[in-house]
Subunit: 305 residues, 2 copies
């Protein structure tokens, strides 16, 4: 199976209100709860695609318990390690105009909890062919946590996809993941180009460029994969659908051009679906044959738009 | 002991942010969690005053479990009946300027759960001398739920204080509580005066009037109780501190003038404390001897300010 790792999941709450007016009180019309976190979105997309998947990571407290129950209710296989601190929440306030986000800080993880997670993770690796590691790290974890987990996956013969940002990305790449998937902003934050990130240890660097599709560098080859038209909808979770496709392609040894086409189609179909972690199946089928994948010049990455 | 009933408790979350800007995303600096609901504030004030108290009501789901753990951590004795639906949350966003509130709708309670609660409640009544019933009713409960609970308390020889609003107040009074404590706005919503509410079945009507103290009608007597100066601070929870004092006074058969003086002092001391459910002990001691209680003319209630 594909193992997804979410070290900093969240309980995502969406509140529908008529109009958000600061410094007043609002009755929330409806509350929507979902299990959140990039790795859980990856797992959710793979599960909906019928791919065997298992979600792992860290969950704590009553909020963590709620996330666990939501995963069980969704039928998503999961095995999370417990922590004492409360899993974070995110609150999105949706009024008639747009969304307002509130992101709680993550929990503090102890060294003992991190050790316990690694024991669980190594047990789960025995059945994993690919590991997708996504999102931020909660406080208390070493900043090179992803490098440690990627090295352990390689020892077990599993391939890896890393999707994170900042220092966890820069230090994670030293663990030599098979694929890293930064977006343009995350690359810019590191003041790096895709080929430089490959030089740090990544087998393949796949840069997501929103409506412009993907730009990928693998050994001496590079490609761009572009959708036929811009997709309108909710871009949250599009990167996670891309990671889901990359993980599946790695598992199946899909040749890179076909794999990138699938990743662009699945990402666009995620934009077409109303919530993160879901894809519009009809849109996915309609797009699959229509993604243009062409060899790219490495000089293109200087002007990737 | 004094039994407090909170049928629609909440997990109160306070998020500190730099500035709430609609339609942007905010990193929450700190999260403060507390067990919320008017009846829990009453219990918390009584517990801090060293009075034997037990909190009951309905709690459900992971959010209810979190409330239960917070009560246990605070050392507050509690015995809540379980419901299947999730206990509600409230989110208060505190920026540098003021607070913005988001109130989730309450859970749906089934008939069987309401019956189970009543069995628990009747068991708890065997040790209760006074019952304080506070706050809104969750969906699924009969609107006359408080009348039913008040009648049961009387059968067990316990006195009752009711603090709610709207139809639950109007129908609750038919259960003949010893005291009801509306505030001015709640009375106005019913288009009623204190003596009219007494006519519906309340033994004593105590109207809280913010900085103007209390106005009370009991049989043929009426009083006003006024603090020496307006209190600055956080008025949330002041009414609950008033109910706590009323419950204690009923238990001790404190004469009405002294009881009202205590209620005004404890309310003002709650305003002086930063969070609902707490009182400033120094301020309470300083105020206790300084509350003016004078007989009032019933005609005064027409112009209660």
């Amino acid at each position: 199976m594909i193992l997804t790792v979410t070290l900093n999941p969240a309980l995502d709450l969406t509140y529908a209100v008529d109009e958000l007016r600061p410094h007043t009180t609002h009755r929330v019309r409806t509350v929507h709860e979902r299990a959140g976190g990039k790795g859980l979105n990856v797992a959710s997309v793979l599960h909906a695609q019928g791919e065997p998947v298992l979600a792992t990571g860290l969950l704590g407290g009553a909020t963590g318990e709620r996330v666990r129950r939501l995963l069980t209710a969704a039928g998503l296989p999961h095995a999370f390690a417990p922590i004492a601190a409360e899993t974070r929440r995110t609150v999105t306030i949706a009024d008639g105009v747009d969304a307002t986000g509130l992101w709680e800080p993550g929990p503090d993880v102890t060294t003992a909890e991190w050790q316990q997670f690694q024991l669980l993770y190594r047990r789960l690796l025995t059945d994993a062919t690919v590991v997708a590691l996504s999102g931020s790290l909660p406080q208390g974890l070493p900043v090179d946590a992803y490098a440690v987990l990627i090295a352990a996956a390689r020892e077990h013969g599993a391939r890896t996809v890393l999707d994170t940002s900042g220092e966890p990305l820069r230090l994670g790449v030293a663990g030599r993941p098979d694929v890293v998937k930064p977006n343009r902003g995350e690359l810019a934050d590191l003041a790096m180009e895709a080929s430089a990130l490959r030089g740090l240890g990544a087998g393949c660097v796949v840069v997501s460029r929103g409506a412009d599709g993907l730009f990928a560098v693998h050994e001496r080859e590079s490609w761009r994969a572009v959708p036929p038209e811009p997709e309108t909808g909710n871009p949250t979770g599009a990167g996670d659908a891309c990671v889901a496709a990359l993980a599946r392609g790695l598992r199946d040894d899909t040749p890179w051009p076909a794999l990138l086409a699938d990743a662009v189609a699945l990402s666009a179909a995620a934009v077409a679906a109303p919530v993160a972690g879901a894809v519009d199946e009809d849109r996915y089928r309609a797009l699959r044959g229509r993604i243009a994948v062409t060899p790219a010049d490495l000089s293109e990455e200087h002007h990737p738009c």
